[in-house]
Amino acid sequence: MSAPSRPSRILRGLAGLVLAVGLTLGLAVVPPDAVQGEVQRIMYLHVPSILTAYLAFTVTFVTSLLYLWKRDLRFDAVAVSSAEIGVVLTGITLVTGSIWGKSTWGVWWTWDARLTLTAILFTIYVGYLMMRAFAEDPPAAARYGAVLAILGFLDIPLNHMAVQWWRTLHQPSSMLRPGGPSVDPVLLLPLLVNLLGLILLYSHLLLERMRLERLRTEAMALRLTRGRRG
Protein backbone atom coordinates (compact mmCIF):
# COMPACT_ATOMS: atom_id res chain seq x y z
CA MET A 1 0.00 0.00 0.00
CA SER A 2 2.93 2.31 0.47
CA ALA A 3 3.75 2.52 -3.22
CA PRO A 4 1.71 2.71 -6.41
CA SER A 5 0.52 -0.70 -7.50
CA ARG A 6 1.68 -2.25 -10.72
CA PRO A 7 -1.53 -1.60 -12.68
CA SER A 8 -1.39 1.99 -11.46
CA ARG A 9 2.17 2.45 -12.71
CA ILE A 10 1.33 0.86 -16.04
CA LEU A 11 -1.60 3.21 -16.48
CA ARG A 12 0.61 6.17 -15.68
CA GLY A 13 3.18 5.13 -18.22
CA LEU A 14 0.60 4.48 -20.91
CA ALA A 15 -1.12 7.78 -20.18
CA GLY A 16 2.13 9.64 -20.59
CA LEU A 17 2.84 7.90 -23.85
CA VAL A 18 -0.58 8.40 -25.36
CA LEU A 19 -0.76 12.03 -24.29
CA ALA A 20 2.66 12.66 -25.79
CA VAL A 21 1.39 11.28 -29.09
CA GLY A 22 -1.80 13.28 -28.82
CA LEU A 23 0.02 16.49 -28.05
CA THR A 24 2.35 16.02 -30.98
CA LEU A 25 -0.54 15.32 -33.29
CA GLY A 26 -2.56 18.21 -32.00
CA LEU A 27 0.17 20.80 -31.86
CA ALA A 28 2.48 19.86 -34.71
CA VAL A 29 1.13 17.33 -37.14
CA VAL A 30 -2.43 18.31 -37.83
CA PRO A 31 -3.01 21.40 -39.99
CA PRO A 32 -4.77 24.46 -38.57
CA ASP A 33 -8.52 24.64 -38.92
CA ALA A 34 -9.83 26.37 -42.03
CA VAL A 35 -12.20 28.61 -40.10
CA GLN A 36 -10.74 29.06 -36.64
CA GLY A 37 -7.06 28.90 -37.42
CA GLU A 38 -4.46 27.69 -34.97
CA VAL A 39 -6.50 28.27 -31.81
CA GLN A 40 -8.70 25.33 -32.77
CA ARG A 41 -5.88 23.29 -31.24
CA ILE A 42 -7.10 24.28 -27.80
CA MET A 43 -10.17 22.17 -28.49
CA TYR A 44 -7.95 19.08 -28.61
CA LEU A 45 -7.51 19.55 -24.90
CA HIS A 46 -10.78 21.23 -23.93
CA VAL A 47 -13.14 18.60 -25.33
CA PRO A 48 -11.33 15.48 -24.03
CA SER A 49 -11.10 17.19 -20.68
CA ILE A 50 -14.84 17.71 -20.25
CA LEU A 51 -15.63 14.26 -21.65
CA THR A 52 -13.32 12.64 -19.13
CA ALA A 53 -14.88 14.76 -16.41
CA TYR A 54 -18.29 13.42 -17.42
CA LEU A 55 -16.87 9.92 -17.19
CA ALA A 56 -15.56 10.67 -13.72
CA PHE A 57 -18.90 12.04 -12.52
CA THR A 58 -20.74 9.09 -14.02
CA VAL A 59 -18.48 6.76 -12.06
CA THR A 60 -19.25 8.80 -8.95
CA PHE A 61 -22.96 8.50 -9.68
CA VAL A 62 -22.89 4.74 -10.16
CA THR A 63 -20.69 4.04 -7.15
CA SER A 64 -22.82 6.35 -5.01
CA LEU A 65 -25.89 4.31 -5.89
CA LEU A 66 -23.97 1.11 -5.19
CA TYR A 67 -22.81 2.46 -1.85
CA LEU A 68 -26.31 3.33 -0.71
CA TRP A 69 -27.47 -0.09 -1.81
CA LYS A 70 -24.65 -2.29 -0.54
CA ARG A 71 -23.14 -0.09 2.17
CA ASP A 72 -19.66 -1.16 1.14
CA LEU A 73 -17.35 1.75 1.92
CA ARG A 74 -15.11 0.81 -0.97
CA PHE A 75 -17.79 2.10 -3.31
CA ASP A 76 -17.78 5.37 -1.45
CA ALA A 77 -13.99 5.54 -1.76
CA VAL A 78 -14.31 5.28 -5.53
CA ALA A 79 -17.08 7.88 -5.55
CA VAL A 80 -15.16 10.59 -3.71
CA SER A 81 -11.92 9.85 -5.54
CA SER A 82 -13.57 10.04 -8.92
CA ALA A 83 -15.38 13.25 -8.00
CA GLU A 84 -12.16 14.92 -6.92
CA ILE A 85 -10.46 14.14 -10.22
CA GLY A 86 -13.61 15.19 -12.06
CA VAL A 87 -13.44 18.58 -10.37
CA VAL A 88 -9.83 19.05 -11.49
CA LEU A 89 -10.77 18.10 -15.06
CA THR A 90 -13.78 20.41 -15.03
CA GLY A 91 -11.56 23.21 -13.82
CA ILE A 92 -9.22 22.57 -16.72
CA THR A 93 -12.22 22.59 -19.06
CA LEU A 94 -13.30 25.96 -17.72
CA VAL A 95 -9.87 27.53 -18.01
CA THR A 96 -9.17 26.21 -21.49
CA GLY A 97 -12.67 27.17 -22.60
CA SER A 98 -12.19 30.68 -21.26
CA ILE A 99 -8.82 31.05 -22.98
CA TRP A 100 -10.27 29.78 -26.24
CA GLY A 101 -13.09 32.27 -25.83
CA LYS A 102 -10.61 35.10 -25.33
CA SER A 103 -8.72 34.11 -28.44
CA THR A 104 -11.88 33.80 -30.54
CA TRP A 105 -14.27 36.39 -29.18
CA GLY A 106 -11.90 38.67 -27.33
CA VAL A 107 -13.49 38.17 -23.90
CA TRP A 108 -12.42 35.91 -21.04
CA TRP A 109 -15.99 34.99 -20.21
CA THR A 110 -19.25 34.77 -22.06
CA TRP A 111 -22.45 33.32 -20.78
CA ASP A 112 -22.72 30.92 -23.66
CA ALA A 113 -24.32 27.55 -23.02
CA ARG A 114 -21.14 25.53 -22.85
CA LEU A 115 -19.15 27.69 -20.45
CA THR A 116 -22.17 28.27 -18.25
CA LEU A 117 -22.99 24.58 -17.98
CA THR A 118 -19.38 23.74 -17.18
CA ALA A 119 -19.34 26.41 -14.48
CA ILE A 120 -22.52 25.00 -12.92
CA LEU A 121 -21.10 21.48 -13.04
CA PHE A 122 -17.97 22.73 -11.35
CA THR A 123 -19.86 24.40 -8.50
CA ILE A 124 -22.07 21.36 -7.95
CA TYR A 125 -19.14 19.04 -7.43
CA VAL A 126 -17.00 21.51 -5.54
CA GLY A 127 -20.03 21.76 -3.27
CA TYR A 128 -19.98 17.98 -3.01
CA LEU A 129 -16.36 17.98 -1.88
CA MET A 130 -16.96 20.81 0.57
CA MET A 131 -19.99 19.10 2.00
CA ARG A 132 -18.01 15.97 2.64
CA ALA A 133 -15.36 18.02 4.38
CA PHE A 134 -17.91 19.73 6.63
CA ALA A 135 -20.08 16.72 7.43
CA GLU A 136 -20.25 15.82 11.09
CA ASP A 137 -18.63 12.40 10.80
CA PRO A 138 -17.26 10.09 8.07
CA PRO A 139 -20.32 7.83 7.80
CA ALA A 140 -22.49 10.94 7.37
CA ALA A 141 -20.06 12.28 4.78
CA ALA A 142 -20.38 9.07 2.80
CA ARG A 143 -24.19 9.01 3.00
CA TYR A 144 -24.73 12.70 2.28
CA GLY A 145 -22.11 12.55 -0.44
CA ALA A 146 -23.85 9.68 -2.16
CA VAL A 147 -27.20 11.48 -2.04
CA LEU A 148 -25.70 14.72 -3.34
CA ALA A 149 -23.81 12.98 -6.12
CA ILE A 150 -27.01 11.28 -7.27
CA LEU A 151 -29.04 14.50 -7.16
CA GLY A 152 -26.28 16.37 -8.96
CA PHE A 153 -26.12 13.79 -11.71
CA LEU A 154 -29.90 13.80 -12.19
CA ASP A 155 -29.68 17.56 -12.41
CA ILE A 156 -27.23 17.60 -15.31
CA PRO A 157 -29.67 16.90 -18.16
CA LEU A 158 -32.13 19.39 -16.68
CA ASN A 159 -29.39 21.98 -16.51
CA HIS A 160 -28.48 21.27 -20.13
CA MET A 161 -32.01 21.87 -21.30
CA ALA A 162 -32.44 24.99 -19.22
CA VAL A 163 -29.19 26.66 -20.19
CA GLN A 164 -29.37 25.77 -23.88
CA TRP A 165 -32.91 27.09 -24.13
CA TRP A 166 -31.77 30.19 -22.30
CA ARG A 167 -29.09 30.84 -24.87
CA THR A 168 -31.26 30.14 -27.90
CA LEU A 169 -34.34 31.84 -26.64
CA HIS A 170 -36.40 31.90 -29.75
CA GLN A 171 -35.33 28.66 -31.35
CA PRO A 172 -35.71 26.03 -28.67
CA SER A 173 -35.26 23.22 -31.17
CA SER A 174 -31.95 24.24 -32.66
CA MET A 175 -29.49 23.33 -29.95
CA LEU A 176 -26.01 24.73 -30.23
CA ARG A 177 -23.57 21.95 -30.89
CA PRO A 178 -20.50 21.91 -28.69
CA GLY A 179 -17.22 22.45 -30.51
CA GLY A 180 -18.55 24.99 -32.96
CA PRO A 181 -18.93 24.22 -36.66
CA SER A 182 -18.62 20.64 -37.87
CA VAL A 183 -15.19 19.16 -37.60
CA ASP A 184 -13.08 17.67 -40.38
CA PRO A 185 -12.43 13.98 -39.51
CA VAL A 186 -8.66 14.45 -39.70
CA LEU A 187 -8.87 17.01 -36.93
CA LEU A 188 -10.77 14.47 -34.83
CA LEU A 189 -7.68 12.30 -34.42
CA PRO A 190 -5.74 14.34 -31.84
CA LEU A 191 -8.99 14.79 -29.97
CA LEU A 192 -9.57 11.04 -29.71
CA VAL A 193 -5.95 10.30 -28.84
CA ASN A 194 -5.95 12.92 -26.10
CA LEU A 195 -9.26 11.56 -24.87
CA LEU A 196 -7.74 8.11 -24.54
CA GLY A 197 -4.72 9.59 -22.83
CA LEU A 198 -6.84 11.52 -20.34
CA ILE A 199 -8.96 8.46 -19.58
CA LEU A 200 -5.77 6.51 -18.86
CA LEU A 201 -4.51 9.33 -16.68
CA TYR A 202 -7.85 9.51 -14.89
CA SER A 203 -7.67 5.77 -14.22
CA HIS A 204 -4.19 6.07 -12.76
CA LEU A 205 -5.15 9.05 -10.59
CA LEU A 206 -8.26 7.21 -9.47
CA LEU A 207 -6.27 4.22 -8.28
CA GLU A 208 -3.84 6.49 -6.45
CA ARG A 209 -6.58 8.54 -4.84
CA MET A 210 -8.27 5.32 -3.74
CA ARG A 211 -5.01 4.19 -2.25
CA LEU A 212 -5.03 7.39 -0.21
CA GLU A 213 -8.53 6.54 1.04
CA ARG A 214 -7.37 3.08 2.06
CA LEU A 215 -4.36 4.46 3.95
CA ARG A 216 -6.54 6.96 5.75
CA THR A 217 -9.20 4.42 6.59
CA GLU A 218 -6.65 2.06 8.05
CA ALA A 219 -5.02 4.83 10.06
CA MET A 220 -8.40 5.86 11.41
CA ALA A 221 -9.25 2.28 12.36
CA LEU A 222 -5.96 1.97 14.24
CA ARG A 223 -6.57 5.25 16.02
CA LEU A 224 -10.03 4.12 17.06
CA THR A 225 -8.88 0.80 18.51
CA ARG A 226 -6.06 2.66 20.18
CA GLY A 227 -8.53 5.06 21.72
CA ARG A 228 -10.72 2.26 23.03
CA ARG A 229 -7.82 0.54 24.69
CA GLY A 230 -6.26 3.76 25.75
Binding site: M1, S2, L23, L27, G37, E38, V39, R41, I42, L45, H46, S49, I85, V88, G91, I92, V95, T96, I99, W100, K102, S103, L201, L205, E208, R209, R211, L212, L215, R216, E218, A219, L222, R223, R226
Partner: protein, 48 residues
Protein backbone atom coordinates in the same frame (compact mmCIF):
# COMPACT_ATOMS: atom_id res chain seq x y z
CA UNK B 1 -1.30 37.75 -27.73
CA UNK B 2 -0.90 35.67 -30.85
CA UNK B 3 -2.64 32.36 -31.54
CA UNK B 4 0.25 30.34 -30.26
CA UNK B 5 0.34 32.49 -27.17
CA UNK B 6 -3.20 31.46 -26.34
CA UNK B 7 -2.47 27.85 -27.18
CA UNK B 8 0.56 27.89 -24.92
CA UNK B 9 -1.47 29.51 -22.17
CA UNK B 10 -4.22 26.89 -22.41
CA UNK B 11 -1.95 23.86 -22.55
CA UNK B 12 0.31 25.38 -19.92
CA UNK B 13 -2.57 26.00 -17.52
CA UNK B 14 -3.81 22.44 -18.01
CA UNK B 15 -0.33 21.05 -17.41
CA UNK B 16 0.05 23.13 -14.26
CA UNK B 17 -3.32 21.89 -13.00
CA UNK B 18 -2.60 18.23 -13.69
CA UNK B 19 0.94 18.29 -12.38
CA UNK B 20 -0.21 20.32 -9.41
CA UNK B 21 -2.90 17.78 -8.57
CA UNK B 22 -0.42 14.98 -9.05
CA UNK B 23 2.03 16.55 -6.61
CA UNK B 24 -0.76 17.34 -4.15
CA UNK B 25 -1.95 13.74 -4.27
CA UNK B 26 1.56 12.39 -3.83
CA UNK B 27 2.09 14.66 -0.83
CA UNK B 28 -1.09 13.44 0.82
CA UNK B 29 -0.14 9.83 0.07
CA UNK B 30 3.23 10.33 1.67
CA UNK B 31 1.71 11.88 4.80
CA UNK B 32 -0.90 9.17 5.12
CA UNK B 33 1.74 6.48 4.63
CA UNK B 34 3.95 7.97 7.34
CA UNK B 35 1.08 8.32 9.74
CA UNK B 36 0.05 4.73 9.18
CA UNK B 37 3.61 3.52 9.66
CA UNK B 38 3.88 5.50 12.91
CA UNK B 39 0.61 4.09 14.21
CA UNK B 40 1.54 0.54 13.25
CA UNK B 41 4.92 0.81 14.92
CA UNK B 42 3.29 2.10 18.08
CA UNK B 43 0.80 -0.74 18.09
CA UNK B 44 3.52 -3.31 17.50
CA UNK B 45 5.40 -2.13 20.56
CA UNK B 46 2.56 -2.56 23.04
CA UNK B 47 0.86 -5.73 21.91
CA UNK B 48 -0.92 -7.27 18.94
Amino acid sequence: MGSWGFIGLAYGAAAVALVGYFVFLRGRLREAGEELRALTREGGRTKR
